[in-house]
């Protein structure tokens, strides 16, 4: 079985889905000849032609808007936004239209659309090129938010996202794009949306992470008897898996690279406090980025949660 990095795994997923279903297409800035900023769509133009691999004008709202129109018409568009920070001009289309076409048409129209965007720090580019603002999308009913953490689950999750009848925001960590390789099978396998992945089982503490933070959580948990949950879908998130783990360990550390205030960790934390309070032995701790604009270069290292910071958090909850 070939070992692939995440770029190759996503490329393979797109290729296989486009072969399987002629309604699947990719559109975005430079996705064709250039293969996208991170070369995720490399080679697809040659294979599928410019009618299905569409280079668009530099217009994020126009890209997502057009993709919505196509999705409603019965196609399965995948729209690529070059960086998560560039998605903001398209928020109007995502929030005001994509998320509510099903509701607005009372189920008679659907919007099976995937918006892919690289997210997070990792390539030492400032602010808008390193954003991790996934919580914005989780707040909006009607859309799903998926964040893969490895090449294997990136492929399986993208397959599920493309086939999903609702709009999906699919966030790909730039840090993970080429940093890890693993065996990725060819052909059909899909990973269901809304189900968390239990990466490691333990009894002392629950670590909840997603995307690139999973690697750091794993490192921090070395030598610790920890349950590690890779959320993979943030909206809707797998409450059941979280409660099951919390009831067992009684201690929770949530890790994300987004700023702390109103980050998705706040929602998880509140949900646990509401529904599993009596099982907790210690306060819930969040190890996150800071409430500052994503900094550049060396400061990025200070900003990002490190294995050491996560370890300290674990030690903190273990005091109880």
């Amino acid at each position: 079985m070939p070992k692939l990095n995440m770029v190759q795994a996503i490329n393979l997923a797109l290729k296989e889905e486009m072969q399987r279903d002629k309604n699947v297409l990719l559109l975005g800035e430079d996705v064709g000849k250039d293969g996208g900023v991170f070369r995720v769509s490399e080679g697809l133009l040659e294979q599928f032609g410019p009618e299905r691999i569409i280079d668009t004008p530099l217009a994020e709202s126009g890209i997502v808007g057009a993709a919505i129109g196509m999705a409603v018409y019965g196609l399965r568009p995948v729209a690529e936004i070059q960086f998560m920070g560039f998605i903001y001009p398209a928020l109007d289309q995502i929030f005001s239209h994509a998320s509510r076409i099903r509701s607005r048409s009372r189920g008679r129209f659907t919007c099976p659309l995937v918006v892919r965007a690289p997210y997070g720090a990792g390539i030492k580019a400032p602010e808008l090129h390193s954003e991790s603002t996934e919580a914005l999308f989780c707040h909006m009913p009607g859309i799903k938010v998926v964040v893969p953490s490895s090449p294997y689950n990136a492929k399986g999750l993208l397959l599920s996202s493309i086939r999903d009848p609702d709009p999906v925001i699919f966030l790909e960590s730039t840090r993970l794009y080429r940093s890890i390789k693993e065996e990725v099978p060819e052909g059909e396998y899909s990973i269901p949306l809304g189900k968390a992945r239990i990466v490691q089982e333990g009894k002392d503490v629950t670590l909840i992470a997603w995307g690139s933070m999973l690697q750091r959580a794993l490192k921090a948990a070395e030598g610790i008897d920890a349950d590690i949950i890779d959320l993979i879908t943030l909206s809707p998130f797998d409450e059941e898996a979280i409660f099951k783990s919390v009831k067992k360990t009684g201690r929770v550390v949530i890790i994300h690279e987004a700023p702390k205030t109103c980050g998705f960790g706040a929602e998880l934390s509140a949900t646990i406090a509401e529904d599993a309070m009596l099982y907790l032995k210690a306060p819930i701790i969040r190890i996150t980025g800071f409430d500052a604009v994503m900094p550049f270069s060396k400061l990025e290292d200070y900003y990002m949660p490190t294995a050491e910071r996560i370890k300290k958090g674990i030690q903190e909850v273990m005091k109880y």
Partner: protein, 358 residues
């Protein structure tokens, strides 16, 4: 994707010439145009215009009872445009509309009972009582669901156009918007992309010269919207939007061209809303618009003009018109009765259609 390059080139050239010469005099109906439209079609246009007018007037009539709990954006004064555009469309052609969408829905064939029920927030409404007057949805008639975000529907119309090309169908999509949407970035993004890919899209601007209460002159450097088409290499035409035949001709040209693979067009229909931005009242009293301007436009009433046209050309008699009005009035009474007597949605429906439930 480009099916007919010559068609596009000629149309653009023609439109640039046209727009230059008509800056202050939008295109009006020609005698030839009137003669070329079958009598049955003209009757149909009058019927739709009258139906829209009576629908809006019925809302004004019932609104004081305060049981219609939805903001309403009335299109009185603008009825000819919806009628004369939608008459060229098939059921499977998509329209994308705005907060001021009643006329478009009626002209595209929506059931008025279900529309009225929607305004009353009832379960039997076209959006199951969850949409109100601004989110009318009717998939069977190609109405995706109008939206209150100014300019928001335009890129979606472009996507539907692209999908129609990719699926090899000959459907077209029409984006209705007002002069306010010209201020939005989505207009530019959509015109650019649609022209680049020669998509079967009709950009239909109902220029009523106001965005809420801001006059076009306070928002845009000049008032000629059709002229902007030339910058995108797209045919653009400006017509008197209260002249049903002029709109009919311009829309026909644009729809035929789009269906034949000749790409998108911008059609600017100059018109005027008689009522305030929202609600059943006239805002002239509030000082929102000059009285003489309002009065000038009342004289250009699309219902009266169409009525006169049909009488003069002996297409309909006074008697036939009276009968038609009686029938339409009955329809309105039935629609209101249906709406008022329908049940409200259950609380359990709150979570329906947010996500796919299988």
């Amino acid at each position: 994707m480009v099916k007919n390059k010559k068609l596009i080139k000629t149309a653009v050239k023609k439109s640039v010439r046209l727009v230059r010469t008509q800056a202050d005099s939008p295109r009006r109906a020609t005698k030839k145009g009137i003669n070329s439209i079958p009598a049955k079609t003209l009757k149909g246009l009058y019927e739709t215009i009258l139906r829209i007018r009576r629908f809006e007037e019925k809302i004004i009539e019932v609104y004081p009872a305060q049981d219609m709990k939805t903001p309403v954006h009335l299109c009185i004064g603008e009825e000819a445009i919806a009628a004369a555009v939608c008459i060229h469309l098939r059921k499977d052609d998509y329209i994308f509309s705005t907060h001021r969408s009643h006329g478009h829905s009626i002209a595209k064939g929506s059931d008025m009972k279900r529309m009225m029920a929607e305004f009353y927030g009832r379960k039997t409404g076209c959006s199951k009582g969850k949409g109100g007057s601004m989110h009318l949805c009717d998939p069977e008639n190609g109405i995706l669901g109008s939206t209150a975000i100014v300019g928001g529907g335009i890129p979606i119309a472009v996507g539907a156009g692209l999908a129609s090309l990719m699926k090899g169908t000959d459907t077209v999509s029409v984006a209705f918007f007002g002069d306010g949407a010209m201020d939005e970035g989505t207009f530019h993004e959509s015109m650019n992309f649609a022209s680049l890919k020669k998509l079967p899209v009709i950009f239909l601007c109902e220029n009523n010269f106001y965005a809420t209460n801001s006059p076009q002159s306070a928002r845009q450097p000049h008032d000629n919207i059709a002229m902007r088409a030339a910058g995108y290499g797209m045919p653009g035409v400006q017509v008197d939007g209260n002249d049903v035949v002029a709109v009919y001709e311009a829309a026909k040209e644009a729809v035929d061209r789009a269906r034949a693979g000749g790409g998108p067009s911008l059609v600017e229909c100059r018109t005027y809303r008689w009522k305030g931005h929202v609600g059943p009242d006239c805002d002239v009293e509030k000082g929102c618009r000059p009285r003489d301007e309002h009065e000038m436009w009342l004289k250009k009433c699309p219902v009266e003009r169409t009525r006169k046209l049909l009488l003069e050309n002996k297409i309909m008699s006074e008697k036939e018109m009276e009968k038609l009005l009686d029938n339409i009035n009955k329809e309105m009474d039935e629609a209101v009765e249906f709406g008022r007597s329908s049940p409200f949605p259950d609380a359990s429906e709150l979570f329906d259609d947010v996500y796919y439930k299988g």
